[in-house]
């Protein structure tokens, strides 16, 4: 352990004045010294794929909101507006990188092969997990704010101790920056040089509280106090997020320790379907961010490159319609779990007390059955 101390190096952070950006709100590609070298593989097909990804997850999101309004889901936390941040991140990670998300990272689950109805089953209340975390290399959505950041740091510590080169990625929001766990995760990651990417989607609100309640300085400045380099990127620019993620993952995978990305974005919808954002933000603000919509921005960019936008748009629509249709039929057909599964998986092995309670429940249920005539 080093015994000499140094103040945070201001060169540890990029994008403090203006978030790093390569696509303007009008979809115009600007050259960028730092990001361009990490975007050399971008061609029309890649752009089309990103557009289709973002369109499909937006459609899943819209369908989920509709299903909630129709009483098929108990709750849904929309990702509307955050498609570029999530798709830009997940599409350049390796399949063996392990994700520790919060509850709004539907695009990550989708890109890891989780079916939309598996995602929604949690919000329908039939289960706490829609998928096997090991199969998808992605933990179940974390509801306690910031708790998953420590899991990612620990996972990364174990990966480093094992000499492996996979990394852990944790997603969280601006609100999580105030949690002890998030700050402790940065302490541990930094102290143990853990290969973890901290990915903060600063969507400007923690339910009703604007980000200014959490921090008076840019979020990306805070990890530098832990000695963790940070990039502050336009989270509605899928290419900028993609490039930033590549910079960060290359840094982390080369053994240089953790990195932090602040994706500056905007939650265009409510916190959840139970929230009413009109109580705490005005239409003008929403309009301003609507003009920065990540999906429209990429669509405009596709137009500017001369890509066959109509056919890409058509394909995105076909795929989205297909996913939405199959999601709706799967969700409305989804039955509740068998009641006795309440008692399963509390411990890995049986526990006499719980077995007794289960037996009592079964006897009661049986006694309530109508007698055979």
């Amino acid at each position: 352990m080093s015994t000499t101390m140094s103040p945070p190096d201001p060169s540890l952070v990029e994008g403090l004045d203006e978030p790093l950006q390569v696509l303007t709100a009008d979809g115009e590609r600007r050259s960028h010294e730092l990001l361009d070298p990490h975007l050399t593989d971008i061609d029309d097909q890649t752009l089309a794929n990103l557009f289709i990804d973002m369109s499909v997850v937006r459609r899943i999101d819209e369908e989920a909101v509709a299903l909630q309004r129709q009483g098929e889901l108990g709750l849904w936390p929309p990702l509307l507006g955050q498609e570029a941040a999530q798709i830009g991140l997940v599409r350049v990670l390796r399949d063996d990188d392990f994700l520790f998300p919060s509850y709004r990272e539907h695009a990550l689950a989708w890109c890891r092969g989780v079916a939309a109805e598996e995602m929604l089953s949690v919000w329908r209340g039939t289960t706490y997990t829609g998928w096997d975390p090991y199969e998808r290399r992605m933990a179940t959505p974390q509801i306690i704010i910031g708790a998953q950041t420590l899991h990612a740091a620990g996972y990364a510590m174990a990966a480093r101790f094992a000499g492996a080169d996979e990394i852990a990625v944790t997603c969280f929001g601006d609100g999580a920056m105030s949690q002890g766990d998030t700050n402790e995760a940065m302490v541990f990651a930094s102290a143990f040089h853990a290969p973890v990417l901290f990915f903060c989607q600063n969507n400007q609100y923690a339910i009703s509280e604007p980000v200014s309640v959490q921090t008076p300085v840019p979020i990306a400045l805070r990890p530098t106090g832990f000695g963790i380099p940070a990039l502050r990127v336009d989270g509605n620019d899928v290419l900028a997020v993609r490039a930033a993620t590549r910079i960060a993952t290359e840094h982390i995978r080369s053994g240089k320790g953790p990195m932090f990305i602040e994706a500056v974005t905007y939650r265009m919808g409510p916190h959840t379907t139970s929230d009413d954002p009109k109580r705490y933000r005005d239409q003008a603000e929403l309009d301003k961010w609507s003009r920065r919509c990540p999906v429209t921005r990429l669509e405009k960019h596709l137009q500017s490159t001369g890509a066959p936008v109509d056919s890409i748009r058509a394909e995105a629509k076909t795929r989205s319609d297909e996913v939405a249709r199959s999601l709706r039929s799967a969700i409305t057909a989804m039955s509740p779990p068998e009641p006795q599964t309440l008692f399963d998986h509390v411990l890995t092995t049986g526990d006499a007390t719980l077995q007794r309670q289960r037996r009592h429940w079964e006897q009661l249920e049986e006694s309530l059955l109508p007698e055979a005539s």
């Binding site: 520790f100 740091a153 996972y155 402790e184 995760a185 399963d344 890995t348 007390t353």
Partner: protein, 338 residues
């Protein structure tokens, strides 16, 4: 067999598990170079390296939370919380994550963590260093909560805890760290069974951890007066071995439960409720609790007032046997006539 202190027995258990299973890692504050403030991890970092015996930053939530992540990746973390009263910053990770992940993931993710917590008082310590917070954890589904009363129990229960695929909170009676006993390193234990440490016929005295020795002392003192106490060492606080306790009460008809933790919503409450449900008709007298009072753990100068002791246990024995006018010793809420 060899004679060793409980601290040495715990050290031996950790050493044997580290040697037996490469996935076992230790993490905690001051557990490396220093060997722990109680020296329970003495020399382990030197022998197994800083990636198996990890000196953690001073953050209990961080210790538990990163251990969750390490467990996700196949390790078996053994966390040390330095003192009982320091566990609360880690409480959220323990009850909201560690206890629930197996259930949350329908059995896909296992959390084979062991969390070692030195607990209990009587050592003249400052605030937050003498508490008995076991009931908080016993109330949480998904955790096993165990303790030990002797070097042998400490050795075999800690090994069983580390080998278990369930998360185990292992409470170590720090006041007994320096008591010596024979330890058989070949012996194995489960994490569920209580032990009848002394057979008797007149009343059942249930204790665990630091109170087992006091319970045995009480049994010796009672035998001088011709009273035969059966002493049960609970060992597992959650789940409670209700069968062993009920089988004893069916023979003795009387029950006294003692522990250092306060009595309200306590392990004693749970043991007594279990007996009432399981063998009410065998009870000859109301069960008795001999516990810490419902105060915060007091300053060292008052801890002997707080802690259950020989006299308080014998007094409860007398009451349950109807040997005195129990009203003069009854709890304050019972109306006492002038």
């Amino acid at each position: 067999m060899s004679t060793m202190t409980m601290a040495a027995a715990l050290n031996a258990a950790l050493r044997d598990e580290l040697a037996a299973d490469d996935s076992v890692v230790l993490i905690g504050e001051d557990i490396g170079t220093l060997g722990g403030v109680f020296r329970v991890t003495d020399t382990l970092q030197a022998d197994f390296g800083p990636q198996r015996v990890i000196d953690a930053p001073l953050a209990e939530s961080g210790i538990i939370g990163t251990s969750v992540g390490m467990a996700y990746r196949g390790l078996r973390p053994v966390c040390e919380i330095q003192f009982d009263g320091f566990v609360y910053p880690g409480f959220d990770q323990l009850v909201a994550q560690v206890a629930k992940l197996h259930y949350r993931t329908r059995g896909k993710v296992r959390m084979p963590l062991t969390v070692r917590i030195p607990y209990g008082g009587g050592i003249g310590a400052v605030e937050h260093h003498s508490e008995s917070p076991e009931a908080y954890f016993a109330h949480t589904a998904g955790l096993r909560v165990v303790t030990a009363a002797s070097p042998q129990e400490a050795y075999q229960t800690l090994r069983a805890a580390i080998a278990s695929d369930d998360p185990v909170i292992f409470f170590e009676p720090k006041g007994k760290y320096w008591t010596k006993g024979e330890v058989d390193r070949e012996a194995r234990a489960d994490l569920t069974t209580a032990a009848t440490v002394l057979e008797g016929t007149d009343a059942t005295l249930v204790a665990y951890g630091p109170m087992v020795a006091t319970a045995l002392d009480a049994a010796i003192a009672a035998s001088d007066e011709g009273i035969s106490l059966e002493v049960i060492d609970l060992r597992s606080i959650s789940p409670i071995d209700r069968e062993t306790v009920a089988a004893s009460v069916r023979r003795t008809g009387r029950l006294i439960v003692t522990h250092e933790a306060a009595g309200t919503a306590s392990v004693a409450s749970e043991v007594i409720t279990g007996v009432i449900e399981d063998c009410f008709e065998h009870l000859e007298a109301a069960p008795e609790r001999v516990t810490g009072y419902d105060t915060p753990y007091p300053p060292a100068a008052l801890e002997e007032v707080f802690l259950p002791n020989l006299d308080r246990i014998l007094d409860a024995v007398d009451r349950t046997l109807g040997r005195r006018d129990s009203r003069s010793h009854a709890p304050a809420h019972v109306e006492v006539s002038a």
